[in-house]
C-alpha cells in the first residue's frame, strides 16, 4: 500500500486572532492504483456493511459453480444486474465451540466480532466496522454512520463494546437533517469561512475533560472504563472540530437532494423496501460528500418480522412453521422473503455502482461486507452461513466470484476486510473462529 502522510496546518485569522491548528492524518489509506478524481485529489477508501435476516434456502441460493460467471439460482436471481460487482461466499462456517447455539444470534455476532456469545443477551465486543472506522474514519465528519430499514432504533450490528451500540438512523427525515443540517459544509461550495465558534468549542473541551477527570476519581474500575470510552469520544469530537476548521476537499459526486418525507412505522415488505432505499440513497449521498467513510445498512433483523401481504406469518415465524414444499424442495414463502432481501441487496450495490466518482464509481473505491444470522433458519443452522462482499476496494479486490470456503471459518472474510482497510492484525477471532488466513482468491 502506498503511504501518504499528509499533515496540513490551518493558518488563518479569526476575528483578528492568529490560530494554528494541527490536523489529523488525511487520506492515509488510498487505493493502490492511484485512482484520483478529476481535480486530482486521491480517492479515499470506504468500508460499508449490509445485513439481512434469516439466511437462505440452500438449494436455490448456492450456485452450482464457483469462480467467475457463477450461475444465479432462483433465490438470488435478483443479483444479476450487480453480479459483476459482488462476491458470494458459501460453505464458510461459524464455530461456537463450548458456547451454545443461540438462535439467530450466534451467527451474526461471530461474523461481526469474531467471538461466539454465551447468552442471547451478550452483545458483541468491538465489531469490524468500528475497528475499521478507527483506521479510516478519522478524516470525516462522522467516524461511521448506521441506518436501519426496520424503523427500529434498537436494530444494529455495530458495537464499540458490549455495552455501547452505535444506534442506527431509522427515520429518513431525521437522518437527512443530521447529515445536511446546520453543521454541513458543502464540499463544493465556492467559499469557505471557518466558524469562530468551532475554535471555542475545541478550546472548551479542556474544561469538559477536567470535569471527567474529577469524576474518574470517584468511580470503580468498570465505570472508569466507561469514562475512558467517553474520553475517546471527546478526542474524536476534537478531531471533528479540526475538520470543521478546514475547507473540505471538493467532491464531484456530492449532490445534496431535497429532504425526504418520513414513513410510517411498519414492517410489510414494500414499506421496508421503500425505507431501505430512502436510507440507502441518503447514506450514499453522505459517502459521496465525504461525510463518512464507514457506513452500516441494516435491512432486516435476525428475528426479521417483515410481513408479506396476504400471508399471515412474518418472516421469522415462516422460517420455522412453513413446511418445505416436497415438489419445490424449499419453503416458498420463506424464500419469498429472502428474494425480497436480495432485491434490496442488489439495489444497495447498484446504487453504489451508479454513483460516479473520478474515473470509476463509489463502489470501485469501497468494500462492502454483507452477512446474515443463520444458514438454514428453520433449524437454526450456522454451518455454511452465506456472506457477500461488493466493490473492489480501489482495485485491490476481484469481484464477480463465487467462493467455496470448504468449511473454513466465516471470520476469514472479516479478517480479509479489516486487512484491506489497513487494520493491523496478525489474526482475528477467538477459539475455532480464529483465523489468520485471508481469502486469497479475491485479492489482486
Amino acid at each position: 500500500m502506498r503511504t501518504f502522510n499528509r499533515r496540513r496546518f490551518l493558518r488563518g485569522t479569526l476575528n483578528g486572532g492568529m490560530v494554528s491548528v494541527g490536523l489529523p492524518l488525511l487520506n492515509l489509506f488510498l487505493s493502490d492504483n492511484g485512482s484520483a478524481m478529476a481535480n486530482g485529489l486521491p480517492i479515499p477508501q470506504r468500508f460499508g456493511t449490509w445485513s439481512w435476516g434469516l439466511g437462505m434456502s440452500e438449494s436455490i441460493f448456492v450456485p452450482k459453480n464457483t469462480g467467475a460467471n457463477f450461475d444465479l439460482p432462483e433465490e438470488i436471481a435478483a443479483l444479476a444486474p450487480v453480479q459483476e460487482h459482488i462476491n458470494l461466499y458459501t460453505n464458510f462456517h461459524v464455530f461456537r465451540d463450548d458456547a451454545p447455539n443461540l438462535c439467530h444470534h450466534s451467527g451474526w455476532v461471530v461474523l461481526r466480532s469474531g467471538t461466539a456469545p454465551y447468552t442471547s443477551e451478550n452483545r458483541p465486543g468491538e465489531t469490524i466496522d468500528v475497528s475499521i472506522a478507527r483506521q479510516i474514519g478519522n478524516a470525516t465528519r462522522f467516524k461511521s454512520l448506521s441506518a436501519t430499514a426496520t424503523g427500529d432504533v434498537r436494530d444494529s450490528f455495530s458495537y464499540e463494546g458490549g455495552n455501547s451500540v452505535n444506534q442506527p438512523e431509522w427515520s429518513p427525515l431525521r437522518f437527512y437533517n443530521r447529515l445536511f443540517g446546520d453543521d454541513f459544509q458543502h464540499p463544493n461550495a465556492k467559499t469557505f469561512a471557518p466558524d469562530p465558534s468551532v475554535l471555542v468549542r475545541k478550546s472548551a473541551l479542556s474544561a469538559v475533560r477536567e470535569d471527567a477527570r474529577k469524576l474518574e476519581k470517584s468511580l470503580g474500575a468498570e465505570d472508569r472504563q466507561r469514562l475512558d470510552q467517553y474520553f475517546t469520544g471527546l478526542r474524536d469530537l476534537e478531531n471533528r472540530f479540526d475538520l470543521q476548521l478546514t475547507k473540505p476537499d471538493p467532491r464531484e459526486a456530492c449532490v445534496v437532494a431535497a429532504a425526504p418525507s418520513d414513513l410510517p412505522a411498519g414492517l410489510d415488505a414494500d414499506l421496508v423496501s421503500k425505507r431501505h432505499r430512502m436510507l440507502t440513497d441518503l447514506m450514499l449521498m453522505a459517502v459521496a460528500c465525504d461525510q463518512t467513510r464507514v457506513f452500516n445498512m441494516f435491512y432486516a433483523s435476525a428475528f426479521s418480522a417483515t410481513t408479506r401481504p396476504g400471508y399471515d406469518k412474518p418472516h421469522h415465524t415462516a422460517t420455522h412453521e412453513e413446511a418445505v414444499d416436497d415438489a419445490l424442495g424449499y419453503q416458498p414463502n420463506t424464500s419469498w422473503y429472502t428474494r425480497r432481501a436480495m432485491e434490496e441487496w442488489a439495489y444497495y450495490v447498484g446504487a453504489l455502482a451508479n454513483c460516479k466518482e473520478g474515473d470509476g464509481t463509489l463502489l470501485d473505491n469501497a468494500l462492502i461486507y454483507a452477512n446474515t444470522d443463520q444458514s438454514f433458519a428453520k433449524v437454526h443452522g450456522i454451518d455454511g452461513i452465506p456472506m457477500f462482499s461488493a466493490g473492489s476496494a480501489g482495485g485491490r479486490v476481484k469481484t464477480g466470484l463465487h467462493i467455496d470456503g470448504g468449511g473454513s471459518p466465516g471470520c476469514r472474510l472479516g479478517y480479509t476486510a479489516q486487512k484491506l482497510m489497513g487494520v493491523e492484525l496478525e489474526s482475528w477471532g477467538t477459539k475455532s473462529n480464529t483465523t489468520s488466513s485471508d481469502i486469497g482468491e479475491i485479492l489482486i
Binding site: S164, D183, A204, A212, L215, R226, D312
Partner: protein, 588 residues
C-alpha cells in the same frame, strides 16, 4: 414493633442462590423475621441519562418548548433485569453519541440565549452585548450549572466556564453567543450526562457508606419524577436536611405531592410494561384496517392513564388494575373498542358483561404482544409472566424439531396450531407455561379487537395459571390479580428502578421481602410504598458495585447476562412437562 437483625448471609443460606427471586422472596418471608433495615443498602451506580431523562432535564431547567424541540441524542438502553432503566447503569457512550450530544447541546444553548428566551432564562443583562461581562456570565453559569450538574459548581468549574464564556465572546463578538458556548460545554460534561451516586462515610455508622446529599436528591428525583432535582430539593441537599429522617420525609412528601410524580410513575410503568415496543409497532393495514399509528399511540396512553388514575389519583389496590373495568377512551380507541366516541380523552367504564376487564384486555397488551398480522398466545403468555410476575420464559432450544410445527391446514384456531407444541416435550415445557394464559385471550385478535370466533370456529378460552383454572377472560384476570408473585414482582421492579440497577439475588433479598411486607401492609397502595421505599435505609445507604460483584458470582452473571432476576426454574419446567406427559424427556 421490636426489631431483630437478620444477617443477610444467614438468610442467603436458607435460600439457594440458584433459584428464582420468587423463591427467594418466599424464603425470606418464611424466615418470618422483621428486618432491621438499618443494615440494608443498595449499590452505588453511575448511570447514563436515558433519552427521557435527558429531555426532562432540559425541559425542567430551560422550559418544555426547548426540551420538546430536541431529537434526543442518548442511545437506546439494553433491557437488564426486565428494565431499560437498569441498562443505564452499564451503558457507555460511543464516539458517535458524543458527537450527537454535542450537537444537541449546541441546539439547546442557542435557544436558551435567543432573544425570546434570554429575557427569562438569563437573570442579568450584560453591560454591552458585544463584549464580555464576567459578572453576568458568572451569575447565569452558577445558577444554571447547579441545576445542570445537580449540585453546585466548584469554584474551579465555575471559573473555567466563565473563562470559556469570556473567550468565546471575544472570538465571536457576542456576549450571548459566548454564554451559549459555555453552556454547551456544560451540557457535554459527564457531570451532566452521567448520574453518579457519590458516597460518603455515614457519620453514625462506622464502616457504612451513604449517598451524599446531592446524590440522594438525584436518586429521589429521577425515581419519583424521572427528572433532575429542582431548586427546592437541591436546597434541601445543600442544608443536609435530606440526611435527617424528618427532612427526608418532608422532601419525599413534597415530591409525591408534586404533579411531576405522574411523569415519574408513567416512566416507570412504561419501562416495566415494555412500552418501548410501541416506538416501532405497527399492524398490517390489510388485516387490521382500523388500527392506525394513532390507535397504537393512544393504546399506550390509555394504559398509562389508567395506571396513573388507579394508583395515584384513586390510590387504589395495585392488584385491582387487573380486574378494573375503568379506563379512558379516545376517539381513535373508541373505534377499535366498538364504543361510542367522544371528543378527546374521556373516562370510560366497560360494562359488567364486557370481556374487557383489566390491563390484560387493553389494546396495549394485546396488540404489542401479537404479530403484525395475527395474535400470539405464546407472546401474550410470555409477556404476562415476564412483565407482571418477573419470570423469564427460556428461549426455545436451537435443536428443536420443528417438523411438528409446520402448517396444518386443518388447524383453524390458535389452540389447534399450538397443540403441536404441546405434543413435543422439548417445546411443551415452556409452551405449557405460556400458552394456557395466552389462549384465554384469544377472543382478541392480533390488534386486540374482540372476536367471537376464529375461522368460523368458536373459541375455547379456558386455561390455567399456576394451578388456578378458568373458563373465561375474567377468570384469567382474577387469577393474575390474586397471583402470589404479583406484588413481589412489582416491588422488585420498583426497587431496581429506584436504585438505578438490577437486583442482587444475594444482597437485596431481605430488602425486597421487607418492601413487599410494606406493600401488603399498605394494602397494595403505591404512594405509601413509594414513601416506605424512599425512606428506607436501603435507598440511601450504599455499597460499592465492585464488592457486590466480587462476592456474588451468580449475581454477576445475572447482571452481565441480562437475565431477569426470576428465571423460571428447571423444576417448574419439569413440573409442567410432567403434568402433561407423566414423564420427562431427555431434552429437558
Amino acid at each position: 414493633m421490636g426489631r431483630q437483625t437478620v444477617n443477610k448471609s444467614q438468610l442467603a443460606k436458607h435460600c439457594s442462590v440458584g433459584v428464582a427471586l420468587l423463591l427467594l422472596v418466599g424464603c425470606a418471608r418464611e424466615a418470618n423475621q422483621p428486618l432491621d433495615l438499618l443494615e440494608a443498602d443498595s449499590v452505588a451506580r453511575t448511570r447514563l441519562l436515558t433519552s427521557e431523562q435527558y429531555t426532562n432535564s432540559i425541559s425542567q431547567i430551560f422550559g418544555e418548548d426547548i426540551g420538546n424541540s430536541l431529537l434526543t441524542p442518548m442511545p437506546p438502553m439494553q433491557r437488564v433485569g426486565g428494565l431499560l432503566s437498569s441498562g443505564a447503569a452499564f451503558a457507555g457512550v460511543t464516539s458517535d453519541q458524543i458527537s450527537q450530544i454535542q450537537q444537541s447541546a449546541a441546539s439547546v444553548a442557542e435557544k436558551v440565549v435567543d432573544e425570546f428566551h434570554r429575557d427569562y432564562l438569563i437573570p442579568c443583562r450584560p453591560q454591552r452585548s458585544t463584549a464580555s461581562d464576567p459578572s453576568c456570565a458568572e451569575q447565569f453559569l452558577k445558577d444554571t450549572g447547579r441545576l445542570v450538574y445537580r449540585r453546585p459548581l466548584t469554584d474551579i468549574q465555575l471559573a473555567e466556564l466563565v473563562a470559556i464564556a469570556d473567550y468565546a465572546t471575544q472570538q465571536t463578538g457576542d456576549f450571548y453567543e459566548g454564554l451559549a458556548l459555555s453552556l454547551e460545554a456544560m451540557l457535554i460534561s459527564p457531570a451532566f450526562i452521567f448520574v453518579v451516586d457519590r458516597a460518603e462515610p455515614h457519620p453514625d455508622k462506622p464502616g457504612i457508606q451513604r449517598l451524599d446529599s446531592y446524590s440522594l436528591a438525584s436518586r429521589l428525583s429521577f425515581f419519583l419524577w424521572n427528572g433532575p432535582p429542582d431548586d427546592a430539593l437541591l436546597l434541601a441537599a445543600q442544608t443536609h436536611a435530606l440526611q435527617s429522617p424528618q427532612g427526608l420525609a418532608k422532601a419525599v412528601d413534597r415530591l409525591l405531592a408534586s404533579s411531576r410524580i405522574e411523569a415519574g410513575m408513567r416512566a416507570f410503568f412504561d419501562d416495566m410494561l415494555g412500552f418501548d415496543n410501541f416506538n416501532s409497532l405497527a399492524k398490517d393495514p390489510a388485516v387490521y384496517p382500523m388500527i392506525t399509528a394513532t390507535t397504537l399511540e393512544n393504546a399506550r396512553e390509555q394504559t398509562l392513564r389508567t395506571i396513573v388514575d388507579h394508583l395515584l389519583v384513586q390510590q387504589a389496590d395495585y392488584r385491582d388494575l387487573f380486574t378494573t373495568r375503568k379506563t379512558f377512551m379516545s376517539p381513535s380507541l373508541a373505534v377499535a373498542y366498538g364504543t361510542p366516541s367522544a371528543k378527546g380523552w374521556v373516562a370510560h367504564e366497560f360494562p359488567e358483561d364486557s370481556p374487557r376487564i383489566g390491563l390484560l384486555t387493553h389494546l396495549s397488551f394485546l396488540a404489542a404482544n401479537s404479530h403484525s398480522v395475527r395474535s400470539s398466545p405464546t407472546l401474550r403468555g410470555q409477556a404476562l409472566r415476564e412483565e407482571f410476575l418477573c419470570q423469564v420464559v427460556p428461549s426455545p432450544p436451537p435443536n428443536v424439531d420443528f417438523s411438528s410445527l409446520e402448517e396444518d391446514e386443518h388447524a383453524l384456531t390458535a389452540r389447534d396450531r399450538l397443540a403441536a407444541h404441546n405434543s413435543n416435550p422439548s417445546c411443551a415445557g415452556c409452551h405449557l407455561i405460556t400458552d394456557p394464559i395466552g389462549l384465554a385471550l384469544e377472543n382478541f385478535d392480533g390488534a386486540g379487537l374482540f372476536r367471537e370466533a376464529e375461522n368460523g370456529v368458536e373459541l375455547d378460552i379456558s386455561g390455567e395459571l399456576d394451578g388456578v383454572t378458568y373458563q373465561s377472560i375474567e377468570g384469567l384476570a382474577v387469577a393474575l390479580r390474586n397471583h402470589p408473585k404479583l406484588s413481589a414482582c412489582l416491588v422488585g421492579r420498583l426497587y431496581a428502578y429506584s436504585t438505578g440497577g438490577p437486583l442482587s439475588l444475594k444482597d437485596d433479598q431481605a430488602t425486597l421481602a421487607w418492601l413487599e411486607d410494606r406493600f401488603v401492609a399498605n394494602q397494595y397502595r403505591l404512594p405509601a410504598t413509594l414513601k416506605a421505599l424512599t425512606l428506607s435505609s436501603a435507598f440511601s445507604t450504599v455499597r460499592s458495585a465492585s464488592s457486590d460483584e466480587d462476592t456474588d458470582s451468580l449475581n454477576r452473571g445475572d447482571w452481565r447476562m441480562d437475565d431477569a432476576p426470576a428465571r423460571i426454574s428447571e423444576e417448574q419446567l419439569s413440573l409442567s412437562t410432567l403434568q402433561r406427559f407423566g414423564s420427562l424427556e431427555s431434552q429437558l
